[in-house]
Amino acid sequence: MTEAAHLHDNERALALFAQGIGGAFFHIKSEGEFTGGAGHRAGRPLHDRGVLYLPERIERFSEVAHNRALYRLIALHQICHLEFGAYHFDIAEARSRCAPLAAQPLPESGLPESDFDTLYRHFPAPWLARHLFRLLEGTRIDARMLHCYPGIRRHYERIAQLERPERRPLAVVTDLPALTEALLRWSLGEAADTLVAQDATGALAPLIAQAEMVRAPTAEVKTSAETLARCYAVLDSLGLAPSAAGPGTGIEAVDEDTTAPFDVEPVSFRGDPPAEWLQREERLGDWREQQADMEEGQMADLAGAAAADSADAQQLSDEEADAAGTRPSAADVRKHQTERDTLARRISIEESRIAQALGRGEAHRGPSFLYDEWDSTRGTYLRGWCRVYEERALDSADDQIQAMLNRVAPHQAGVRRRFEQLKPFAYQRIHRIIDGEDLDFDQLVDYQTERKRGECPDDRVYTRRDRLHRDVATAFLVDLSASTDDPIEPPEAEAASADLAPDPRSLNLRDPFDDTAPAPAGHAVAKDAVAADPGSGAATGSDEDAPPRRVIDVQRESLVLMAQALETLHDPYAIYGFSGYGRDNVEFYVAKDFRDPFSYRTLGALAAMKPRRSTRMGPAIRHSIRRLKHAASALKVMIVISDGFPQDCDYGPDRSDHGYGVEDTAKALVEAQDAGIGTFCVTVDRSGHDYLKRMCPDARYMVIEDIEALPDALSKVYERLTGR
């Protein structure tokens, strides 16, 4: 009976393994998640920039440990393409090294293509060249991998032994398909003598002799290209290579394996990386360098023109200035400008072609994590269902930060005072005291020893536990869904009372951010700066032209207040935001992590929190649990701040039914409790009772009628959760 290894169970270990080997973070995704075309056929491992696409499950071996080892082998083979420069290929350099290639004119397809495609077109049957080249490159990568990572050899040999009998039977080698199969078997470690004995064409022995070159420990991709030319010459000399008039000699033949007259059965663990597109991306790097050089040249032109102008100012003639080489001609400047613009357009077009071919969606700079989701309709977890991308929140402009600070300045002192009254929490054992709840046996032994010696003993032999310092870590998880862009609607009754009683003091009691409140000394509110922030206009407002205050404004200002207050307590805390769209794209923004100091950068990250898309709350809570687990505090608390029910485009079978999202969020909150993390949900949605009571116990949530009361509510919640 076989025991399968599943990708979602091994995703984190594989991501860390890949990072350790590759020196960069790799997202681990299943093969089915590759949405690009790129001539890739489904069900084969591959890699893209920063992504490894691996099988959803592996059950080739009966032991799960061997199946896990196969995951590592596949991942390592993919990473080794990058490590051993599989895409660092330049056709001009290859031609200069290889006489058979240089002997032919450089093929022109008239279409944008990779240098690999150009290489294949040097031969009458490009599809055969592509088959051979991939086989040789696979062999080269294997050889270098086994040389640099010798520990993988036993796993490699185990899978190679399993792979060979599973391939199509090879009796007598009489034609080209059998010949390529024999060469591939040799590349998997089958004895050359055995294979040559089966060969009736006489080509296998010279082919293997040539292919040995790619097994050298220093072989590079150009070695594979050179070996390809030699192997093709062997086939050609024996009349085994197809003629130019044969099938699959056109442009399509390079791009599509399907037009080739026969297919080479792939080696499962080598996969099928989109080499041609990745080489085009590597070439983009060269183009960008060229673009940077051109820009430098243009700057030199400008500097030259400036120098010439200066010469003019010194009454030198144009001829003298030109003779000194300081003034570039107008024609030169125009030519450089045109070349630079052309290259920039070329880079842009190539980037979008590559992105489309490789199915790249939004660029995520941070790592990703897979999480299960609770499927309430079936009463089971969907394993590895959601992918959370973790990103650092960006900085903001100084004026936005200043506007935010100005908004919160009048309220800092009050919130801080409340926090200073919080009692210490953690216990610490105090030794060497004259009375206490326990005896300190070390001290007691010393006491008796000294007494027996006739010395004057220290009689402080007691110990007790005291509450000395707080030991609380808190994560604030903020909903950044699109609805937080909504303007704040003041409660009708209060708005009416405000109309009836325009006394500023009564407004201040209701609205902690009311700008009419007298600011404390040293905290003068800069009205201009406030108006400069599009999101911080006063709803209570003196300035009717200012944009209305939004939910997100109050959320982030509340967090600034909380952060400033928590600094006085020295409690570690983190501030995260979440949003996203779809189960594969849950976004988790880190504005401040536990280890980050509170700094101007933190303020910038908070000011940069913006309304985004949906509210898939379950995976965001699960990711916060992961982060909190790493916090070394006795008490761990998660406070979720939202403005509505959990919702996403595919959060449950029926988009209009929010029950699925509510149930998943409830389950995630239970998981947090099970992990020893106290949770609390604060919502500014007035209909929040409807779903919050299904998500958590009554004592674990709060619905705020007036959003402006959020900072006050957060302070109370924090005090209640951590104060005793």
Binding site: L16, G20, I21, A24, G151
Partner: protein, 73 residues
């Protein structure tokens, strides 16, 4: 180890924090070397002085063990 300068993730603090954030200190490497010099088999020495010492996280330990597994003959 692959040098991937074109990969922005390598510079991303979030990426670093999420993974092998502690790294393997020189001290641990020296301990490992001392064990090997003292006659302990390299794999066993790495297991004792690196894998179990590098992190409390079982997944991180597994990943380091996997890296050791592919590097050592």
């Amino acid at each position: 180890m692959v040098n991937c300068p074109s990969y922005p993730e390598a510079e991303n603090p979030g990426a670093r924090a999420a993974a092998l954030e502690e790294g393997v200190s020189t001290r641990l490497l020296i301990y490992t070397g001392q064990l090997i010099a003292g006659g302990i088999a390299p794999r066993r020495a790495c297991e004792i002085a690196l894998v179990h010492a590098v992190s409390d996280d079982v997944t991180a330990q597994q990943a380091v063990a996997d890296i050791v597994d592919v590097i050592l003959p």
